[in-house]
Structures are given as C-alpha cells and as structure tokens.
Symmetry: C2
Subunit: 328 residues, 2 copies
C-alpha cells in the first residue's frame, strides 16, 4: 500500500523510520515537511531524505508544498502528523479533507481535527468510501480505538476513566514519591523533556480534555466539545494534599472521566487508591472502560514518544491494508 | 448470523442470555447441553429453553445429541463452550472438527483443543475458508487476541508476562494483605467460589501454563506444549516470603512469562514491585506485552465469569459477522 506522509516532526520521523525498517508492505510515495515535499510513485528513498533534512533543514523540493503532495502524489493512504492546532484544527482539517476528496484513506495523530471536526470528517470519509482512523490521537501506543472497535464489540460502554496526560502524571508521581512542590516537579519534568517551556496546555488539563472529547465522541457518537468538559488542572496542588492522600493509602492523579448516565464529562485531580489499576507511574497513560459484559477493562502504556506513536499509526495503516486490500 | 451453541454451563448460559438480551444480529438456531439438543433454523426460544433446563436438567430433546446439532443444525458459526479436558482435548476437538468440516466458523472458550491441537485446527479452518477464534480461552474478558491481531499489528512481540489465574491471584492477594497462610487463603477462596474442591489445576500453575501455551503459539506460531513450560505453583509459599517481599516494597504474584530470545517459557511465583502494572488484586487477570514499537502494553480485566467470558465470545462472533457478512 502506498503512503503519503505529511509532517516530519518526532512522530513523522518515527513512522518513516519504522515503515522503512520493517517489512510491512507499506511504501512511502509522498513526503512533506513544513518547508518542502518529495514524491515518487515507485517509493521514495527515505533514509537519504531524512539525512538531507538533518543537514539542510528540509527533506525535499522547496517548491513542492504539503498540499501539492496531498493533491498530486500517487498514494492510497495519507498519514497526517503535522502539528496540532487545538483552536482551529487548521491547516490539518484542510489537509485531511483534500485527501478524503481524492478518495484516499487518512490516518492521523492530530488531535485538533478529530476533536473539532470529527463528525464532518467521518461523514466525508464514509461518503467517499474510505477510512479515517486516529488511534494515535489518544494515549499514544495504547490501542484504545481498536479495543473499542473490536475487542469489546457488543459491549455497551458505560463509562471511561483515563490518565491521558503523561506530563501531569509525571509531576504528580514525583510530588507523591519525593515530596516535591508542584514547581519543583514541573522544573524536573522540563529538564527530562516531559514538559514544554509553556506547560499550560498540559498542566491545566486542556490536553486531557481534548482527548476526552475525542473518546466520548468516538464511543457515544455525541458531538461534545472542549467547552463541555468540566476541567481543573494540577497547578494548584500542594505537597500537603498528596501527603494527606498518602495517609489513607491513596494518591492523586489527573483523571479524565466520561459517565453519560450521570452527565459527567470532567478532567480533575482525584484522590484514588494506590492499588487502583489507573494509578500508573511516571509518564505512562492508562484507561479504564466500564462495560456491561466485560465489566472493567484497563489498558496501560506509553502515551507519547516517536516510535510509540508510530505503532498506533502503523496499526491503523495495516488495518486499512487488510480491510481494503484491493487498493494496494 | 446464525449460531449453534454447544455447552450450557456458566459460560454457555452467559452467551445465550446476552445474545437474547442484546440486539447484535445474532440468532441461536442450535443449542445443546450434555444431555439434549434443540434446533430451529428460524431461531430458538432461548428463555423458554433455559427455564426448561432449570426445571428438568436438560434444555431440549434427549434424543438429539451435541454432534447432531453440530452436524445437522442450520448455522453459520459454532460456539463451543463444553467443559475443558486439558489432557485429551476431547470431545471438544471432535466437535470443532465436525463444524469446520461443514465449513462453519468456530468460536471457542475451550482451552483443551486450542492448547493441544491449535495448529491442526487452524489449518483445517483455513482450508475450509472459515474462522477459528478463541479470545475467551485466555484471560476471560480481556481482549488479548484482538489486541495482538489488530491493536499491535506491525509490532514484534518480544515477550509477554501475565497474571493468568484468578484463583492464585486471589490467594496471593489475601496472604499479602491479611498475613493469611496459604491454607487459610485457599479455604477462603473456596468459600468465595473462586477455588474448586480440588484446586490442583489452579494452584500448581497448570491452568496458567495452558494459557501461556495458547498465547505463545498464537504469537510466535511455535508449536510448544504444556510439557515445555517450566512450572512452579503457589502451594508452597509461606506468609514469611510475602512479608519479606513487602519489606522491599514488593509482593509475590504467579507470573506466566514467555521470552523467546532467552528461551524462557515459565510459570512461577515472582517477587515484583507493588507499583508494577501486573500487580492486580483479587481475581483480576493482567497481561503485559513487550513490543518493539509500542514498548510495554498492559491489559487488566476479569479473567472469569459467565457474562465476562460471554463478552469475549460475542466479540469473536461480531468480528466474524463483520468480516464474513455474506454468510449471515
């Protein structure tokens, strides 16, 4: 199956490297970073292009744009891994639409378009007879979308609870384990590369809320938005609060929860028993699904990382390859 | 899709009840318990048959055998949930073969046939162009087979570690939490209905070993057998051992592990950090897959139970329905 890959940040590089390294029946025929593009219907020489990017800051021809790749390259599935814009979803929404309009499958790790325009994009994919998959938008390497689609098929999902932001989980783990203040733990997270210079998006719970919106819309077909989430971050937590929780055999985690029967869509720091499966350490993510038949199912894994996120994207690509194999 | 259901123990009843209760597009057209059978190509009246079984000890006509149902009923997929025979796999192997020979899909929760004759049965299914699925054989409601097949597609599975026996995990949890002896905890497990009168199969690690064999053969296509597993049970563990582990922030769990690169296929009590995702409480099961791209993925859920196991079987049935929908 032929792949056009747009976006060559950490995730894009991971996808390019894994497709090149592993014998998966996938060939990259189009490639774009923010400054240039390259295409070859017979398959691009990825190692050479990546080396070129390292040396020169761009991978291909500066006269070829991302949209040129999407509109002109010869491919079956677009992998859209450009930077997330959580406010407008653009330009990624436009990229995805352009591919769907060409009847190309789309796999994305981009939370913006899926949180903001999921219904519209899904409808468009359906009308064009192609797949739109976004396993990588939530909880990195954890195959939560596949689990909902197949593993728990037939179950009613009654509620979901998740630790969906690795930065917050790292900070809370360090505050609990070492008695650090929020500021100390945040500084450490920055030094480890787990927090950005401006951590607002993570520590205020916005990132977790966006993922909760994606999950809720996916599971229940609702059309909830970021503004529907009752959101509290972790930036006002004190070491005292964690100590008090510890005295009761508990700890504090930033929990995203969706419970339709109680009309709850919330991200907030919660006191939770240490032995609870959702209490994971460091930057791990975790999700518990409450269902009618399987009861509680918990999935734990890495919520970020170049190759870890590539795992989710490649899982989606192989699913499309398997399902629509005539196109390859 | 039409279903023939053979076996009306706890799991069979769960499957029958869920198919009847939920609108899944599944119709039971054949039903057999150990003493009788019933069939109707238009769909059986399941509530009436289950009530009849409760009153009279059998669900249908005593002159209709299980093999009659398999060979004569009008169905698309056989659900084989008869009792497990871990030594010979029979009569279930014969049941499954009879259905495959008729080009019927087979879904089973029966560990015997899959541990003993997986390769032969899979080949036979393939030759007949039908599916053989067995999500329910390992870890109850946890969709481990679906995760391996789809969620982690493209990953190399490097190792797996699992808590695969709820009885042992319950006993170890109680010994650790309450300082009980093995004998006391076992007695409690019996009272709770978590351990059988003869607990050998569970506490000696045999049940976990069988599940490990099924997983290893599924993942790596090896043809390992129960006798290849280096197996130690939990029946010689003392409260002292658990106390010593506790002093180090650890506990003891019966871990099944398969690590091909180290030639390890082992079930044994292991000292493990309490914060490790595999440390689950009570009768829960848990599995960690170590992979090349996604790294470690852990799944936690209920390892047994009527409706919980039905969840796994129904997931398999809906997968078949989705994939082979021409047959419905």
């Amino acid at each position: 199956m032929k792949i056009a890959l747009i976006g060559l940040g950490s995730v894009g590089r991971g996808v390019a490297e894994m497709i090149t390294k592993k014998d998966l029946g996938l060939t990259i025929t189009g490639l774009a970073d923010s400054k240039s593009g390259a295409m070859d219907p017979k398959g691009l020489d990825i190692p050479t292009l990546l080396t070129h990017k390292k040396k020169n800051g761009h991978c291909g021809d500066p006269d070829i744009s991302t949209l040129d790749i999407i509109k002109k390259a010869d491919y079956d599935a677009l992998v859209e891994v450009t930077p997330t814009n959580a406010l407008s979803g653009e330009p990624a929404i436009g990229y995805i639409k352009a591919a769907l309009a060409r009847k190309k499958h789309v796999v994305t790790s981009n939370k913006g378009p899926i949180a903001l325009a999921n219904k519209e994009l899904r409808t468009m994919a359906q009308e064009n007879g192609v797949a739109l998959r976004y396993e990588a938008t939530v909880a990195g390497a954890i195959p939560i979308m596949h689990t909902l689609e197949h593993g728990l098929a037939g179950n009613d999902i009654l509620a979901l609870y998740g630790v969906l932001n690795g930065t917050c989980n790292y900070i809370l783990t360090r505050m609990a384990d070492e008695g650090l203040t929020y500021e100390q733990a945040l500084m450490e997270a920055r030094e480890m590369g787990y927090a950005e210079a401006d951590p607002t998006y993570d520590v205020k719970g916005i990132d977790a809320s966006i993922k909760l919106v994606i999950l809720a819309n996916n599971i229940w077909g609702h059309d909830v938005r970021l503004t529907d989430v009752d959101c509290t971050g972790i930036d006002l937590l004190t070491p005292d609060a964690l100590r008090l929780a510890d005295d009761e055999g508990c700890t504090i985690r930033l929990i995203a929860e969706a419970i339709p029967r109680k009309n709850i869509l919330r991200v907030s720091p919660r006191i939770i028993e240490k032995s609870h499966p959702l209490v994971v350490d460091g930057t791990l993510n975790a999700l518990t699904l409450e269902t009618d038949m399987a009861k509680e199912i918990t999935l734990i894994g890495r919520g970020a990382g170049s190759v870890e996120t590539a795992s989710a994207i490649i899982g989606d690509l192989l699913y499309i390859k398997d399902r629509y194999d005539g196109s390859a």
